[in-house]
Amino acid sequence: MEQYLELSGISKAFPGVQALKDVGFRATGGKVLALLGENGAGKSTLLKILSGDIKPDEGKIVLNGRELSFRSPHDALKSGISVIYQERQLMSAMSVMENIFAGDIPVKNGIVDYKTLKRETKKIIDQFGLPIDPETPVMFLSIAHQQMVEIMKAYRRDSLVIAFDEPTAPLTDTEIEILFNLIRRLKEQGKIILYVSHRLKEIFEVTDEIVVLKDGRFVTHVNTAETNEQDLIKYMVGRDIGDTYANLSRNDKYGDVLLEVNNLTTYAVHDVSFSLRKGEVLGFAGLVGAGRTEVMRAIFGADPIISGEIKLEGKKVEFKTPKDAIDAGIALCPEDRKEQGLVLWRSIEDNIIMPFLDKVRKWPFLDFKKSERVTIEAIKKYDIKTPTIDKIVVELSGGNQQKVILGRWTSSLVNTKLLILDEPTKGIDVGTKAEIYQMVCDLAKEGLGVIFISSELTEVINVADRIIVMKDGTITGEVLREEATEEKVLALAMASN
């Protein structure tokens, strides 16, 4: 009998977003099915539904003819569905064997039977051919091996369905090869495998079928062998991405030099020098961990500077705290919106006036009329979707959250000269991304200098006027937009010096 997992009519709404709408497809045993889509397409929500983490509003999950409904992640596990998330869910201080058998530790006379535990674990590890000691605490393993432990855990439970959420993100090439071999083994054993990723290359390498999602909806279900990268991108984006960038209305008049950084060295970056003119959008490309964020934090006064100088409008500046930098007209939209940018459980209003409480005062109290006015201005300027100014930010979608931060730094309370955007489009849907690109260009037209950090190559080489590429804490090159190609930038980002 053929093994299969069938989803039909799955819908799930969060306030402000329809995360999934009527999604359905069928995955069969012995095959790897890729779930493909941009950030915000609904892949993670779908996995969370499969793992019993959240409940769908509507829809059916059928495994081998049996309809499943989960009240908890435990139910999903019992039904034979294991989801392996990006954040590994292991008990890091416990040994490999305890993790693999968590929930089913063999017991003899009420005492843990370590002998059996070790023997059984060894069996599984050998089947996978991995050089892992069952007794090592998981925290001493490499990220890749930790992931292998997760997979062995799923294997030990004899899960029929194993879903991977962006498994290769933290892995090196050799480690990816090990993972793919594992996945192929699982496939041979007839498991139903779901593979979420947006790395197209991998999808062609390891999957048999592809389901594309876009904005929470099912787009298509194709055989991997019968499609190609261009088609997939078109399915994912819904239109040619070229247009978004071609239609941007850019600023073409630069002013004086706004920022000059000379030989900046901190604990994380070395000898960084660059300059930025008013009205210019300067991109920073590089791999994750290249030191781009650290350069910006140093400029913003959030990290200490070991040596080097920073000049703003020709004058040497030294910021001891972010407050000094803000007072001088520098604004930072940090990399991690939710962790560093916003106070999630406070209102839009609070999040917008946050750095400028001094300027909305009517002694001894805050000037609530003024702060209301400023907030409404920002809501209108950026078209933030909300009924009132006191909606708490956590209830907004990612795109609207980012707009709140932009609204904060460009309000009439502040004279921002330099706007630093660190990964501003991370986790944001395609439509809002385009809006944010245009906002960046509009702000440049107003005479702001904008620094635009992004790990998405297409984005950074198409939005920025000039692109600086970093690797291992130093600048490895600089390219103008006109001459920038993904290959060129990538070569600099991965250059061996």
Binding site: T45, P322, L332, E339, R346, P355, P364, P387, E395
Partner: protein, 337 residues
């Protein structure tokens, strides 16, 4: 065209966590009024409420200090010890060393402020967890208090009597012969700190720091300064509570107010100030206290044994916390956070 204005204050009040407590308060009044005659007593009298409010003033000051600190994400477990220490210091200064009462009060409150300062230094400069740092400080304070309470013969006194009419008046003065001045002081303090938290720049930064310290720092909010102020204020409020208590009972006692610490914290949590920080306010904390004290008083009046009262008030707290936890979880689930 949308106008995006705020939701009304009335709607906000109804949605706040303190609102169910207010309903509970009303239910309690009705119940106790109905049950009191069975014990040949009367619940619904001015005297009952004045007595409830008077009982509330000492934990009230504690809850103000602890509540403000908790909104910023901190916690102070040394506050009640500081309160007892203040009382003992005042009693010893006046009773044994014959200092004038005002000098004793100033010295005692300065000591309280210093303990707050040390707490703030431990947390902000040495990056200790507030929970651990203040618990350690509580132990240290208790030891110092015992030293202070050791008399010339080398005997430690559990309670120190003093005789000073002015000092005694602070906690016992009754306006018009029936309304204790401490009630008025406490209500003024609640209003003052309530306005401070909800309407001022300082208050707003307290909420933002409590909500997300990292984001607050990157938005230029000086969280260190705020934390120092809040820790010192928390101790100072402990000191004021200690002053009022010592004045009222006319002695300094080593074991005073030990349970009030938790009454204060409990009230703050009941009223919507969460352990994580960033939410709740003074109004909620006050209503929280009011519910706890009304319950205790009502149980006494209807003649329930103190054991039953303790069990039931514990159950009340558990019920409130589970309700809080449940509604928070539902909210998180709803928005997928």
């Amino acid at each position: 065209m949308d106008n995006f204005t705020r939701i009304s204050t009335f709607k906000k009040a109804i949605r706040s966590k303190a609102f169910p407590l207010l309903i509970l308060f009303v239910i309690m009044i009705v119940l106790f009024t109905a049950l009191a005659p069975l014990n040949d007593a009367n619940f619904l009298t001015t005297r009952t409420f004045i007595s409830i409010l008077r009982d509330l003033s000492v934990p009230g000051f504690l809850a103000i200090g602890a509540g403000c600190l908790m909104v910023s994400g901190g916690i102070d477990l040394s506050q009640a010890t500081v309160a007892a220490m203040t009382g003992v210091t005042i009693a010893v200064s006046v009773g044994w060393w014959n200092l004038p009462w005002y000098a004793a009060v100033i010295i005692a409150l300065l000591i309280a402020l210093c303990i707050g300062l040390v707490n703030a230094i431990l947390v902000n400069e040495l990056n200790m967890m507030p929970f651990i740092a203040t618990m350690a400080m509580s132990t240290v304070t208790r030891a110092v208090m015992m030293l202070i309470a050791t008399d010339q013969t080398g005997q430690m006194q559990g309670s120190i009597n003093y005789n000073n009419p002015t000092l005694t008046l602070i906690g016992n003065y009754e306006i018009g012969g029936f309304l204790p001045a401490t009630i008025i002081a406490m209500i003024i303090a609640f209003i003052f700190y309530g306005l401070l938290l909800s309407k001022t720049k300082f208050g707003r930064s307290v909420y933002l720091i409590g909500g997300n310290p990292m984001a607050a720092r990157l938005a230029g909010i000086n969280s260190k300064k705020t934390s120092y102020i809040l820790f010192m204020n928390c101790s100072l409020m402990g000191g004021l509570a200690g002053l009022i208590y010592t004045s009222r009972v006319k002695q300094g006692s080593l074991s005073a107010m030990a349970t009030d610490q938790f009454t204060g914290l409990t009230a703050a949590i009941l009223g919507g100030i969460s352990f994580g920080g960033g939410s709740g306010g003074m109004g909620g904390a006050f209503i929280g206290l009011l519910v706890i004290k009304t319950f205790n008083k009502g149980m006494t009046i209807i003649g329930a044994s103190s054991y039953v009262t303790n069990v039931l008030s514990g159950a009340l707290l558990l019920a409130a916390l589970s309700f809080d936890y449940y509604s928070q979880r539902r909210q998180r689930k709803r928005i997928g956070a």
